[in-house]
Point group: C2
Chain length 333, copies 2
């Protein structure tokens, strides 16, 4: 690889001049600029972004920290983020988080301005200590899918979403309903599932049909796990007539388990999810829609705004959720 030194030598100029040409400084004469540019093209010289970042103390990348980035909902958010960031001068780099260790590591990396110019943290919460560090860091951060006091975020009202689900099922006449959600084994600080459960539970209680604690199951956020949890629920002496799953992905696991037992959906069991991912419309899943793609775009726009204007004050945004009734819920037998 050619370096800026090589270019300077070959062009018979100083490194400063080459740097000025690279960065479009006006303090270079047209003839010198042309000569240097010629040498750059000839040598196929590419400046090292690494050395540049070290020297400048900032890089041209936006880091996205996201747990389980292959979940459909995460992918959809990433699509929104990527669509906005690709229009900017920044590169997007994705940091996957699968373990609690990695979470710590990502967060500590976060404050290093030279690794990333800005940060989008997806689905992870931060404790007050971490919030303080992030707020004090020179790298702006935006939280996505999580409300954080004191830092910009894009989130939804999970509590209201859970309530909507309960009200829909109650409206159809269900009284014995279940919940399939996430546990937070890895300690990521996921709270969406719990918040939705709280809203769900409250609405049920308010309607005089309190949630049976034995009908609340949690596990990893995968179809397979939801399948297993549901199989267990359906084996109980008094099985539920409806299940609210905390994501569409999990709802599909629930439906699978029901079909495996020869149950008709929604005849024998109503099932609803959360998110409204791509395939849900296709499959006729009743769900609570949250604007996944849009939330990604919005978070990216907020971050770019912060990067553009370091002093900018950016407000957190709460996006609406919406009940989408399709074919997997109906009145109980």
């Amino acid at each position: 690889m050619a370096t800026i030194q090589d270019v300077a030598r070959a062009a018979g100029v100083g490194v400063g001049t080459v740097s000025r040409v690279l960065n479009g400084s006006p303090l270079v004469s047209d003839t010198t600029r042309a000569r240097v540019q010629g040498v750059i093209d000839e040598l196929g010289y590419r400046p090292s972004s690494l050395a540049r970042a070290l020297s400048l103390g900032r890089s041209a990348t936006v880091a996205v920290i996201v747990p389980h980035f292959t979940r459909p909902s995460a992918v959809e958010r990433l699509r929104g983020l990527a669509d906005v960031i690709k229009e900017s001068d920044y590169d997007l780099v994705l940091f996957d988080v699968e373990t609690s260790d990695q979470r710590e590591q990502r967060f500590s990396m976060a404050a290093q301005a030279d690794r990333a110019a800005g940060l989008v943290i997806v689905s992870l919460s931060a404790d007050p200590d971490e919030v303080g560090r992030l707020a004090g860091a020179s790298v702006p951060a935006v939280f996505l899918d999580r409300h954080v006091e004191g830092l910009p975020d894009v989130h939804i009202d999970d509590h209201a979403g859970g309530r909507m689900a309960a009200e829909h099922l109650l409206g159809l006449g269900h009284r014995r309903v279940a919940f399939v959600g996430d546990d937070d084994e890895a300690g990521f600080g996921f709270t969406s599932s719990d918040d939705r459960l709280a809203g769900y539970r409250e609405a049920l209680e308010a309607a005089g049909a309190p949630l049976d604690p034995t009908l609340v199951r949690t596990g990893p956020p995968s179809r397979e796990a939801a399948h297993r949890l549901t199989a267990d629920l359906l084996d109980r002496p008094e099985p539920p007539t409806a299940v609210f799953a905390v994501s569409d992905l999990q709802a599909f696991g629930v439906i699978e388990a029901a079909r495996e037992r020869g149950l008709d959906v929604p005849g024998d069991l109503s099932v609803m999810g959360f998110d409204d991912i791509d395939v849900s419309a296709y499959l006729g899943l009743t769900t609570v829609r949250q604007p996944l793609y849009h939330s990604g775009r919005l978070a990216a726009e907020m971050l770019l705004h912060l990067l553009d204007d370091a002093g900018a004050e950016v407000e957190g945004v709460a996006l609406p959720v919406e009940l989408v009734v399709r074919k997997t819920t109906g009145p109980p037998r």
Copy 2:
């Protein structure tokens, strides 16, 4: 942020000694090591991975270059890559490619050892010139979902996959079949679609039912695009009795378009896809399965092997494809 200088000063040692402590060199006495470590902990010092990479001339990241990374098949491959890489000492960073410009930029970046220690290039081809540069670069590269002469790769036999699809449809009695595939507008060098088409066409010709050129449609690799292309196909005076889509995602677009016209699948139209993504089993889609997740794992393992042992010779791997017959194909009316 504290630097290694700050640590050296605070501990009353030289920077060399701090560096040795950081890297576990045996050339440090236990007492000095303890004192330096104490200062490191006290100051909360974190070495700059950037400076480290610049100094060493190599970084601890694996770069994955992938176009349209939110496609289900790309996501599934990424899952395999991520699962392997997270077990190693390397970080995975994802470089999205959406435009031809970005493709160039990613490739030129590729050769810079200081940005990434190794490279996985997904679904993109390289011309001989690029192959030469990559082969000569100090950064090992593995191609995934593309066979490249002279560099390690993980690929499938797309031609055979296309043939399988044709043979399945012919076996059911179809004679007038269509193809919905990808164009390569962005100039990424996608060839899977064309290779599958070639295999499909050959098998049809061999059976005496040559492919009608007006029944071959290509567009972007999205459900929506496939939907539109199919609508057009079905509007023709002599519509096909079966459609082979080049991906499952596109097959769903085909099915949507058929349903929109009140056609029964597979009664009025047989539809098959390619990939066997997660939801395909669920939806009963007939398809040609390729091992997406496994291919990601394999590519990552090959790359880690190359990183471990610079001299290692790694052979390209061809993975098998397999016909999976489900409910969206049947005999024509």
